[in-house]
């Protein structure tokens, strides 16, 4: 073999190795979710195939006893309002900052810029008191408001897009008698579709996966979102790894489907979000 061929082989071997490292832990959990508790008790090892390939019993248990149905409902509710709010807030802020000259504009921009540097995890100690004082503790509004109010990344994304919309469009609309609000609603907002798609995807995945905020603000069982409900599997299902695995697979599956369908948007969105 020439040196080049050896190098190529090594490259593919390393890629293959990485693939195994990523997929094996997930595959094993999937296999475990299909096994019965006797199979696990036998100690036949983690890598064996389940006896019955279509044993969905654990999924039924996870759904019924693990409250996964209400968890998905709560997550959907929060997603709907948090994303809707983020899109409105982000686009309005971007429109106001990009299209208007006003006093204190520098200060407003600086406030948003500096807020982007403050990691949310650090301030929860005090945010908690504020949320409680509004009576939002242990309601679904606490995470909704927090997700909406502290998302600087989507403001950045919207700002980039608003800037790319020619001002001449605003001006000709203004000549036709449209006021600022009509321009925002009829011209800017519809043209922001690509930015909205990006924000919806990035925000959606972030909110769906978030554990910290629902864990802090919604302790009651009925308000479990998928993260906190899955977290509670540790108690009742203690050593029942087949049920815990089924729960984990249930949570991962929607992400996988969304990822396969929207790959390109997801890469772009997260890159934009991180490099802003």
């Amino acid at each position: 073999m020439t040196r080049r061929a050896v190098a190529r082989t090594l490259v593919y071997l390393s890629l293959l190795g990485a693939t195994v490292v990523v997929l094996l832990p997930l595959a094993v959990v999937f296999l475990t979710s299909l096994k019965s508790d006797e199979e696990l008790a036998n100690g036949s090892g983690a890598l064996t195939l389940p006896e019955k390939l279509f044993n969905v019993g654990n999924y039924v248990t996870a759904f019924q006893d693990g409250r996964m149905l209400s968890a998905f409902a709560n997550t959907a509710f929060i997603l709907l309002f948090a994303i809707g709010g983020t899109v409105l807030i982000g686009s309005m802020t971007a429109y106001a900052i990009d299209r208007f000259q006003f006093r204190l504009k520098k200060l407003v921009v600086a406030l948003f810029l500096i807020a982007a540097l403050v990691p949310g995890v650090t301030t929860q100690v005090a945010t908690f008191q504020i949320v409680t004082s509004f009576g939002m503790f242990d309601t679904r509004w606490a995470p909704i408001v927090l997700y909406m109010g502290t998302d600087i990344v989507s403001i950045y994304i919207f700002l980039q897009f608003v800037r790319s919309i020619p001002i001449s469009l605003d001006e000709s609309a203004r000549l036709d008698g449209a006021n600022a609000f009509t321009i925002y609603r009829r011209i800017i907002f519809p043209l922001l579709k690509p930015a909205i798609a990006t924000v919806v995807i990035v925000k959606g995945i972030t909110v769906y996966n978030d554990f910290y905020i629902p864990f802090l603000y919604m302790p009651s069982q009925d308000l479990g979102v998928i993260s906190t409900s899955l977290f509670r599997f540790r108690g009742p299902f203690g050593a029942h790894w087949e049920v815990i695995s089924a729960g984990a697979v249930l949570v991962i599956l929607p992400t996988l489907i969304v990822f396969l369908l929207l790959q390109r948007y997801i890469y772009n969105g997260f890159m934009r979000g991180a490099t802003r």
Partner: protein, 315 residues
């Protein structure tokens, strides 16, 4: 103490701002001046109430012995800060961050390697890209459970080692060193994908003529990396380093879900959460949070100084 929070009226963020009367006299100066504020009303209210008010309150709490509930609190000066840096059990968490910092070095190196490989023509490129990135999208609790099973007695790792004839009854999460290493490994597994995709994006935005010219000049892969790729990804690289440092300091989900901070795996954020919400030491927890905030701001400031951002283009 909390009355700063009541000054801003409770926002109704979902609703659009008060509809501007359609017949607003056009060109009227006052209206023009007011319009941007109507758009900014809800965003600014949310920003002030949920980002700035907490910071102000937090700094204020950090000088008191408040327990978070009782109306009574005493001013304790810098007592809380002294406690954080002198009580050994509290200071301990900074050493745990060391594991995550070390892991992020490995993570960045691996991400760079894979991004360089996949920046060029490789078969099944999209498949490999997807596989490497996907973990970043998975729910943290699910990842925690997947890896609890992975490190369990007779779990995935033991079974794989068994295939190679290695039989061990080592409890992977049993000792502080082993547990922290395992947890840091999980966080590499989880976050590698983001670094990788950022690097890949930067590499692919380098014009391909550069490589072609280099190849004509007889440059090998290493030289291409050294002289074309490395300078091209420098901004992303520094950004990644900063994200890694603040990420290592604020590690929470993986250790909290997997061990709950037991066997010496308690991180800064776990400790702060426990102080505030389990032991009702709001004052002390606030001081800890202020310290973390200051460290992260300092790190960011250093980064801005090192790499003057060409793209500070918000206005």
């Amino acid at each position: 103490m909390t009355d700063t929070t009541h000054k801003a009226a409770r926002p109704s963020p979902v609703a659009p701002p008060a509809p501007v009367p359609a017949k607003a006299p056009r060109g009227a100066r006052r209206w023009r001046g007011l319009t941007p504020w109507l758009f900014l009303l809800a965003p600014l209210a949310l920003l002030l109430v949920f980002t700035y008010a907490p910071i102000v309150n937090m700094v204020a709490y950090s000088f008191t012995d408040w327990d978070g509930v009782s109306p009574e609190l005493h001013y304790t000066g810098v007592g809380n800060y002294v406690e954080i840096f002198t009580r050994e059990d509290l200071f301990q968490v900074f050493f745990v961050s060391g594991y995550y910092l070390a892991a992020s070095v490995v993570q960045i190196a691996a991400a760079l390697y894979f991004a360089t490989i996949l920046g060029f023509n490789v078969r099944f490129r999209n498949f490999f890209k997807g596989v490497l990135f996907f973990p970043y999208l998975i729910n943290g609790v699910a990842i925690g459970f997947v890896f609890l099973y992975f490190f369990q007695d007779g779990g995935t790792l033991d079974s794989v080692l068994g295939l190679f004839g290695v039989h061990t009854d080592h409890a992977w999460l049993g000792t502080p060193t082993s547990a922290n290493t395992s947890l840091a490994g999980v966080s590499v597994w989880r976050y590698l994908g983001l670094n990788f995709v950022l690097f890949l994006g930067a590499i692919q935005s380098i014009p391909s003529e550069l490589y072609e010219a280099a190849e004509l000049d007889g440059a090998n892969r290493w030289q291409q990396f050294r002289h074309i790729i490395a300078p091209g990804i420098k901004p992303v690289l520094t950004l990644t380093v900063i994200l890694s440092i603040s990420g290592s300091l604020s590690a929470f989900e993986i250790p909290y879900i997997m061990t709950g901070g037991a066997t010496g795996t308690e991180t800064f954020v776990i400790q702060t959460v426990k102080l505030a919400f389990q032991f009702n030491k709001t004052g002390l927890a606030s001081a800890a949070a202020v310290v973390l905030l200051l460290i992260i701001l300092a790190v960011t400031w250093v980064q801005r100084r090192l790499v003057p951002d060409e793209r500070v283009d918000l206005v």
